[in-house]
């Protein structure tokens, strides 16, 4: 699904004068989405990434900066650190830990693009990241909603080549038609941003998941819920995860400082055959 090859991305980063071409180790990663829209699947992608880091056995840190919903920390209370982002100061703990682990995943709240951008500017975060051999990976959700598109444009224009980008399509949550026909894909193509797509999960499976979570009095992750769901839903969730893991493996250079072997079986999709009844 990723639309840009790894080699063309590394070529572009070479042109931008970044690491990994002068014998330097590949940069550590801070992965986050700073976009100003809620309910677009930010925490779901974060859950999938945590699950993938676990699968790949990679050391990581996860921060739940969404003090209001705390979705990620409810899923992984033992793994995720709660560090609500409210003001500029709240970026400091993140900066303090920059470079100390291969990947840091941050789930920022919606409606905070402006304050985050000004916090990044205040601490000159990118100079700091560079000194710690760390690079930011911004997830850009290709939503047609105006605030999502406006904040995406703000992020890309402000960060420019100092950040890497991944376009995320989530057809279950939002349409991407206007986004695709706007200037944003061109802006992202300039930085060689690959695209990943989050699969759709049926309402029935999600209802089962909610029911099991209510029974367990805990927000269950997909993995936890799998042991409790009916067989059909389990297959659906497994294939959902496999499809995402395969895409993460394809773009692992934007998610991890180390190469990851491709271990996920690429699911073969069924293609619907078109038959002309008169030729039979």
């Amino acid at each position: 699904m990723s639309s840009t090859s790894t080699s063309s991305r590394s070529r572009l980063r070479k042109e931008a004068g970044n690491a990994d071409d002068d014998g330097k180790p590949r940069p550590h990663r801070i992965i986050c989405s700073l976009q100003s829209t809620g309910r677009i699947g930010k925490s779901t992608v974060a859950q999938a990434l945590i699950s993938w880091f676990g699968f790949a056995g990679v050391e990581f840190a996860a921060v739940d900066a969404d003090g209001e919903h705390q979705t990620l920390s409810r899923w992984y209370p033992d793994i995720v650190t709660r560090l609500p982002f409210r003001e500029t100061d709240d970026l400091l703990p993140i900066l303090n830990e920059t470079g100390s682990m291969p990947a840091m995943l941050i789930d920022y709240p919606a409606q905070s693009t402006q304050s985050l951008l000004s916090a990044f500017a205040h601490f000159q975060a990118f100079d700091f990241f560079q000194s710690k051999n760390t690079r930011l990976t911004s997830l850009i959700f290709a939503s047609d909603e105006r605030p999502a598109m406006a904040s995406a444009a703000e992020i890309i224009s402000t960060f420019g080549p100092r950040s890497d980008y991944i376009t995320v399509k989530n057809p279950a949550r939002f349409q991407s038609e206007i986004f695709i026909h706007s200037q944003l894909p061109n802006m992202l193509a300039e930085y060689s941003a690959p695209t990943i797509e989050i699969g759709r999960i049926t309402r029935t499976t999600l209802d089962h998941l909610d029911a099991e979570s209510a029974k367990a009095k805990k927000a269950l992750t997909f993995r936890e819920a799998e042991k409790l769901l009916p067989a059909g839903s389990v297959i659906e969730l497994q294939s959902w995860r496999n499809r995402l893991f395969a895409q993460f493996e394809d773009i692992c250079d934007l998610l991890l400082p180390t190469e990851v072997s491709k271990r996920v079986e690429r699911p073969e999709g069924l293609t619907t055959a078109k038959v002309d009844p008169y030729s039979l």
């Binding site: 676990g54 050391e59 990581f60 650190t81 709240d90 400091l92 703990p93 993140i94 830990e97 993995r223």
Partner: protein
């Protein structure tokens, strides 16, 4: 004929009287409120410290405290909360470093000042919370 009122369930004999779990946080709440923090922010801070509470809960507790203070005509001196009883006892016996100072210009620190300083320290240390790394075992099912 009027129906008899049902009796309120009585606690078992020897049961401890109810005490709010928020008493240990009175200083913190006062301090944060003076810093113009919202009830939601205070509730979040307290929940993070280990006592899950809603913003309405903190507000109701603080309001009740203030009403009681008004009724009894004196404030709950900060530092008399259950969690700080040890500190209050220490205050009555030991002299603070300021009181021990030979310099007469050094004013003794009041219990409130000390408690506020302690609360500030609590806030500072909670803000310096380290982000914990997680090293999964290979093929960990997260």
């Amino acid at each position: 004929m009027t129906a008899r009122k049902s009796r309120k369930a009585q606690p078992p004999p020897g049961a401890k009287p109810f005490g709010s779990a928020l008493w240990p946080y009175l200083t913190l709440i006062t301090h944060l409120r003076l810093k113009r923090a919202t009830w939601a922010e205070i509730a979040e801070e307290i929940s993070a410290a280990g006592t899950p509470v809603t913003r309405q809960g903190v507000h109701a507790f603080f309001k009740r405290c203030k009403q009681r203070e008004k009724r009894r005509g004196s404030s709950y001196a900060l530092g008399t909360e259950p969690a700080n009883a040890e500190f209050a006892a220490k205050l009555s016996t030991a002299k603070s470093p300021q009181q021990e100072s030979p310099d007469a210009s050094v004013q003794p620190m009041s219990a409130i000042d000390e408690m506020i300083a302690e609360a500030q320290e609590t806030i500072r240390s909670s803000k310096q919370q380290l982000i914990k790394p997680y090293k999964p075992k290979p093929d960990a099912q997260l």
